[in-house]
């Protein structure tokens, strides 16, 4: 396996972008990533694009052809990657394997979702297809509902409180204040979260990530090309990917995402690092409970202790291990297919020393992207 580096990044602002369509978002991110890498469109050899559902959100499939077409990458091989909310992270992993294998030297990884062209009801239905539509959604399980089932059990088993869940949202909103691309620039309090509308007990509106339009792209290069083209390459030191049952109810332990445990193990092993050596992480906080489960499953804190750990400030910027300095899915926004790629962009900004006020002074960074309620998990470790 060859070494692989990130040499370029580009993303759009995240938000409810009524004026923008899927292709214009993708082009902005893709072209900015290519420019940032100091290369030309014609240097790009292959494209991997993560998107959850062009079909349900904008009635457009075959994005494997459409994205390189609009970005100006002529005749290149291009793969659309789908793993629900982990589509972006998985596109990154596929591109990494491609470059590491020696097949290509320069790849663009894109992630995009245009969610707001349809109504809230249709969005909820589209997101529910990340679960087992026949055996979960059909019986009344919404996507927030599945995470609520985990949250309720975590509270029951480990005495986690609703305020501890809320502390995840408060922290991530605070971090997003310093991220110009974030959807929200609004400080919130524990009380704001507690007072927000209940969506699925114990989860409330401010426990959930928002509906977002946006795109993110990065350029990957082989070691030889990266050293030639970039003064600030960020190396991918570890990559892991695992799956689990699509239905939450089919798991022996409802409070462990074994796909995350397994993907993390692969990434740690390859990077020769342990959880205690990780300087910061961008984790999949589609709901506040998801961040708590993530920091347990990634090994940053013992199972059941994440609520207290977060409440006491260990995951803030400047804390023991900063989690989601970008604002996370919660406050930066969650354009489904773009999220996994945007996590990698935050890792690169942090390791290049370009994160501004939200800098964590990190030597390495971990990203963690989950599909559905844990049916797919992708973990990457970056180092400067």
């Amino acid at each position: 396996m060859r070494k692989v580096a990130v040499i370029g990044i580009g993303m759009t602002k995240f938000g409810q972008l009524w004026k923008r369509d899927l292709t214009s978002l993708s082009v902005e991110a893709g072209v900015n990533a290519v420019r940032d890498a100091g290369i030309h469109q014609k240097d790009v050899e292959v494209l991997y694009g993560g998107t959850m559902s062009g079909g349900l959100f904008i009635n457009q499939e075959h994005l494997g052809s459409m994205l390189p077409d609009y970005m100006g990458f002529k005749n290149i091989p291009s793969v659309r990657v789908e793993a629900a909310c982990a589509s972006g992270g998985l596109a990154l992993r596929q591109a990494y394997i491609d470059i590491a294998s020696g097949m290509h030297d320069i790849a663009v990884v894109g992630g995009v979702e245009k969610m707001t062209d349809i109504g809230t009801y249709s969005i909820t239905k589209a997101l529910a297809t990340a679960a087992d539509t026949v055996n979960e959604s059909n019986f009344g399980a919404t996507f927030p509902g599945l995470y609520a089932l985990m949250a309720k059990l975590h509270m029951h088993k480990y005495k986690t409180t609703e305020e501890q869940l809320a502390s995840v949202a408060v922290k991530n909103h605070l971090n997003a204040l310093d991220n110009p691309n974030a959807q929200f620039h609004k400080k919130i309090s524990i009380q704001d979260v507690m007072d927000s509308a209940k969506i699925a007990d114990p989860l409330k509106l401010l426990d959930a990530s928002p509906i977002t339009d946006g795109a993110a792209a990065i350029v990957l290069a082989s070691e030889k090309k990266a050293k030639k083209l970039s003064d600030t390459p960020v190396w991918i030191k570890g990559s892991g990917h695992a799956t689990d049952t699509i239905s939450l109810h089919d798991r022996d332990d409802l409070l462990t995402l074994s796909a995350t445990v397994s993907a993390a193990k692969q990434a740690y092993l390859q990077a020769r690092l342990q959880p205690k050596n990780i300087d910061m992480a961008e984790v999949h906080d589609c709901f506040t409970i998801a961040e708590l489960l993530a920091i347990e499953d990634l090994g940053f804190v013992k199972k059941g202790k994440s609520g207290k750990f977060t409440e006491e400030g260990y995951t803030k910027i400047g804390g023991k291990i900063p989690i989601n300095p970008s604002g996370g899915l919660k406050a930066k926004g969650h354009p489904i297919g773009a999220s996994g790629v945007a996590q990698a962009i935050e890792a690169v900004l942090q390791l290049r020393g370009d994160a501004g006020k939200r800098s964590t002074n990190s030597e390495n960074a971990l990203t963690h992207n989950v599909g559905g309620s844990g049916g797919t998990s992708v973990v990457h470790i970056f180092e400067r």
């Binding site: 009801y121 239905k125 019986f139 009344g140 509902g145 309720k152 699925a200 007990d201 089919d250």
Partner: protein
Amino acid sequence: MAVPKIWRKIPEYYNLIGKLCPECNAKFFPKRTVCKNCGCTRMQDYKFEGKGKIVTYTIIRTSMSDPEQEINEQAARNIPYALAIIKLKEGPMLTAQIIDCGDSELNIGKKVKKVFRKILENGPSGVIQYGYKFKIDK
């Protein structure tokens, strides 16, 4: 769901017919044609009694109803509604609504039993889906 998609699920949805592995005795609901434990493909039908316990639950409060959509979920679900993961006595777990029950009765560990109910109503096509919901087993 489309009519054939509903029709072929009738044994499972109406009568909780799952599968039993003759090799390792593992029981599955819904049906699986390959045993997840041992890879056996000679799976046999197995009827679950429909009794179990609440493993975890939530109350869904976001509306899934939209008059322009094909499926009228509001009619079948009566938002807000309780949703639970239930561990059947025989082992497997499933996701289902809990009905006829006050918030105070709803607890982790509570015994429940299956009832036969309407689960969804497909708007314009007029197809009504029946299946399982659960009640507190007093």
